[in-house]
Point group: C2
Chain length 202, copies 2
């Protein structure tokens, strides 16, 4: 059963659950939206359904300046805004460290977008066309599978939430955030980032 | 003699001179472009004409995180890229301090654009229309003068290079940069900045 990112987004918006959990629930429910909602509620993990609709209005801004040689000035810098629901969480060292870890990750992994939904439609179409051309001659359903597989690789390259966390490649940034969200029982939103490197085209 | 920003820009592009120097030269030359170029060359200040066309390909990235209360996390941050011509200048403490001073200035003064040329045409038109409406009923040449005056105030509000430097209100950020540029005899370019505040609309 193919689950579209639009379905996942709708379920996330309705429940506040994470992307991976929402996708899994939809797959388990064969794409049935109400059934997927029920699954998320019943799984009751970390009270995710209670967090639905609550606003992540607190947070921190953190920066990471990359200085591989301490005698040279930083030529690469990243700034991130990581939001949560309460000041109580925002002011913990652990939360600030999480924000700085993500900034450091962005410096190293150089993502272009935060989530899959941020990739413009024309970029996706261009990628799909390239992958389809590469698989030319194969049966349609094979081509489709190849395109979807390569698109996943593409997301891992350019989408921050899909990238394996640089300090622990076993989880993605999305999973890192979900882990912490479960722990503190608050919605977390990685709102935005900027990455400047001296000499790159602006 | 009214000097347009297009004239100033053309002269700056041709000579590499600063905005204020170019404007003064054009005023002195009654708007005559070649004469203004000659004035800039003859003034010979800081070998500005020699710097024309040289590329600011080195630089630093610096950040400022605003923490008015040390017990609370930073909720406002600014990152800037300040470019110069050589690593020799880029790695000095003074250059890095200049970049951090500008980041701190941006945190406090909240500019929207770097230079006047970055203000979109439709924004300028909207502002002009408002000022003209406010001056309605007055003779045309008075209205024009009022509009230009208010536009200058508007630039001071939203254009970083036109803002009075927060730590020394007697000079603008543009003048601060020109001062340092003259001192180190290199082109300086404030390439970009990002300013994040937790809770603002993204």
């Amino acid at each position: 059963m193919e689950i579209t990112s639009a379905q996942v987004k709708a379920l996330r918006d309705a429940t506040g659950a994470g992307m991976m959990d929402s996708k899994r629930a939809l797959q388990e429910a064969d794409g049935d939206f109400e059934k997927a909602k029920q699954i998320l509620r019943e799984s009751g993990k970390a009270g995710i359904s209670k967090r639905a609709g609550r606003t992540a209005g607190e947070g921190v801004v953190e920066a990471y300046l990359h200085t591989p040689d301490p005698n040279l000035p930083p030529k690469l810098g990243v700034m991130v805004e990581l939001d949560c629901e309460t000041d109580f969480v925002a002011k913990t060292d652990e939360f600030r460290r999480l924000a700085r870890d993500i900034a450091m990750h962005v410096a190293a992994a150089d993502p272009t977008y935060i989530g899959r939904g941020d990739v413009p439609e024309d970029v996706l179409e261009r990628e799909r066309a390239i992958y389809a051309a590469q698989a030319e001659g194969k049966p349609d359903h094979i081509v489709e599978r190849i395109v979807e597989g390569k698109l996943k690789d593409f997301y891992k390259q350019v989408v921050l939430l899909d990238q394996p966390f640089i300090r622990d490649q076993d989880k993605t940034i999305q999973e890192l955030l979900e882990e912490y969200s479960t722990k503190v029982r608050e919605n977390l939103v990685l709102r935005r980032f900027s990455r400047f490197r001296v000499g790159e085209d602006v």
